[in-house]
Amino acid sequence: MYRILKYRMLKGIVTRHIAPEALGEIESTGKELKTLIRKKFGKSLHIREVDTGSCNACESEIISANNPIYDLQRFGINFVASPRHADALLVTGPVSKNMLLALKKTYDAMPEPKFVITVGDCALDCGVFKGSYYTAGAVAQILPVALHIPGCPPSPSAIIKSLLAFLRQHD
């Protein structure tokens, strides 16, 4: 316990002191994001993530957006374990034929109103997996997509910024 406390005191708040150049931008983006989310979703935006055939680097960046440095949660965005708790569905990867049914079922299980976000180049047009015998198509061919976040994979700050730009647009 003593070790934890000591380490904690010495380390300080990492969210502030890593990558100071990018910090101003993220902080101001984040503040605005928080206000927008409060206004639109009551208190917070809940996202359910589904991987339909990604290489997992996209997942890794989404997880990174939740680490103590970017700490997406402090702006009111939460990743939830069940589609029943979600406002938004976040999809990564081209849609493998094997995931088609699971993707549709997950979407159907979400309460209205709901919207779909895609993350990564694969999710937009199957990316490097274009033309495979086993892709059922891009996500937009299967579900109505409201927002796409480009990149291979998009960085955590790109993910946060895209979310803000999107919410601002639909203000």
């Binding site: 055939g53 990604s54 997992n56 997950t106 694969c122 495979s132």
Partner: protein, 529 residues
């Protein structure tokens, strides 16, 4: 060891043995072509002599040129640092070969794969269920890796397709818990079916293939440099290991030997990849017992390394840095200094992380003796890499093959107990060793030097390999006379190791499953291809 050496060794155990031809195209690859009748016995003898499970078993469709299929079975000779392949021809009509599965268990999954992708029957294999082409969406009789495959079958009606048959545990009081394919976390998809009697798990069947994207087929027809991008996207968290294994095979074919500088730079990137992933896993193990503070430290370490990767290569996941013939960019003088500074910080954080975990009694209580994988089981299944080293299988391609790691006096981490704690200990030891290795290679590197030869378009076949953070990643490549890829077979360590997980959880309770799972941390996309 040369061809004659291995032939004599086989003959000593198997007097009826003879080869059609034996070739050694590269110092570390021996290939023996034999008659199909003695395929099984030859493999069995090699399996015993080399103490190696089946490392790769795959088919090629050569019907157009030679009216036949061929099947290759690859073993590892750890002692001599070589790959030994047994190859046979399989007739184009009624294609089949003698199954190895009943004698060498590690061949089972590969044989199922050959049957599903090529329609070549491993005669005598009791389980021919498909791995990736799910029965519910793909009709029987359509084989994607055959050369005359004309694309996905159209107008399939789901009603006519059968459902997958899970193995059933019968008896009083057994109940089944199905989980997935979509899980609660931000993670890939897979289906886990537990059979439990009271609390303990008595069977776990893992059904994968959900992220199958037909990668091996996509490689076909591409040129080496084009295909590299695809290799990096097979498994994004080991993007560099995959690209390394691919380029190694490509370089062998093109007859390029890379510069020592490039070899150092590659080793640095490979170790950085290992470090961010090991940190991530150690954090994951802490999360799964509900110990969030060390998990936060681990994610800070991971983020620091990702940022370091970006500074060095322009990509957080080390994509686009490796190329056939070398690396596109190697660290500059000031970057070398920067990395050393970074490593010092990381070392401090990592020591804290390791100490907090190993001095917490309740944490140790959760991981000690949980999820034991026995050495014998692991050997039979062909578990490789970190999961193997945690139960006493002392194999690491960095150790077994000559190269810059020998110069660095690489120390392999091995544990005996095979539980979650052992896997955690191996991870911690490997992370520390990787830090040392990065420092060592940095001290050897001449700043900024990146010259590399342009690859020639050539015909050939070769095996490339890399020890990723999970274990061996193997690429077997064959190109045609224009230099286009004819066949690319990929084996990620996850392919066999997933089975290891299903044995490790037996006797444990379902709430400990996430912990066991995280301690293996296997790849969905690397397995599903």
């Amino acid at each position: 060891m040369d061809c004659a050496g291995i032939i004599n060794e086989i003959k000593a155990k198997f007097p009826g043995f003879s080869v059609i031809s034996a070739v050694q195209n590269y110092p570390d690859e021996i290939c023996l072509y034999v008659r199909p009748e003695i395929f099984k016995d030859t493999c069995l003898v090699l399996h015993k002599i080399l103490l190696s499970p089946v490392k790769m078993l795959f088919a090629l469709d050569e019907r157009k040129m030679a009216n036949k299929f061929t099947v290759h079975c690859v073993f590892l000779s750890a002692k001599s640092g070589q790959w030994v392949t047994v190859a046979i021809d399989v007739p184009a009509e009624n294609p089949c070969f003698d199954s190895l599965a009943k004698s060498i268990y590690s061949a089972s999954l590969f044989e199922r794969e050959i049957y599903e992708m090529f329609g070549i029957k491993p005669e005598g294999n009791p389980d021919l269920r498909r791995l990736r082409l799910h029965d519910e969406v793909w009709p029987q009789g359509s084989f994607p890796l055959r050369k005359d495959f004309a694309g996905a079958p159209k107008n399939i009606s789901a009603e006519n397709l059968p459902a997958y048959k899970f193995s059933k545990v019968e008896g009083n009081g057994i109940f089944e818990v199905p989980v997935g394919p979509v899980h609660a976390g931000i993670i890939g998809p897979g289906h886990f079916r537990f059979s439990v009697a009271g609390e303990p798990i008595i069977n776990l069947e893992i059904r994968l293939g959900f992220t199958h994207r037909g990668v091996e087929k996509l490689f076909e027809g591409k040129f080496l440099t084009q295909a590299l991008r695809l290799a990096e996207s097979v498994d994004g968290e080991s993007a560099f290991a995959h690209s390394l294994a691919f380029t190694q095979a490509a370089e062998k074919i093109a007859g390029i030997s890379i510069s020592l500088q490039a070899a150092y730079a590659r080793a640095i990137f490979l170790e950085l990849e290992r470090m961010y992933n090991h940190a991530n896993d150690i954090g994951g193990i802490a999360v799964d017992v509900g110990f969030s503070f060390p998990a936060a430290i681990a994610s800070i370490i991971k983020e620091s390394i990702l940022q370091l990767n970006e500074k060095l290569t322009g990509s957080r996941y080390l994509k686009g840095i490796n190329t056939v013939g070398g690396v596109l960019r190697s660290p500059e003088e000031h970057e070398i200094r920067m990395v050393s500074g970074f490593l010092k910080e990381i070392k401090k954080d990592f020591n804290q992380l390791a100490k907090i975990l190993t001095t917490s009694v309740s944490f140790m209580d959760r991981v000690d003796t949980t999820g034991v994988l026995k050495k014998k089981t692991a050997e039979d299944i062909g578990v490789a890499g970190l999961a193997g080293r945690a139960c006493g299988i002392a194999l690491d391609l960095r150790k077994n093959f000559a190269g810059v790691y020998h110069e660095a006096k690489f120390k392999m981490a091995v544990e005996q107990s095979g539980d979650v704690l052992a896997r955690l200990r191996v991870r911690i030891a490997e992370f520390e060793e990787s830090m040392r290795l990065v420092e060592f290679f940095l001290s050897k590197i001449t700043p900024g030097e990146t010259a590399f030869p342009q690859p020639q378009r050539k015909e050939g076949e070769a095996l490339g390999f890399a020890e990723s953070w999970r274990g061996p990643v193997l690429y077997w490549l064959k190109t045609d006379c224009n230099g286009a890829i004819e066949r690319c077979k990929i084996v990620d360590a996850s392919f066999c190791n997933w089975q290891g997980l299903s044995y490790a959880v037996l006797g444990n309770i379902i709430p400990d499953f996430p912990l066991c799972n995280k301690s293996f941390d296997l790849s969905y996309p690397g397995n599903d291809l």
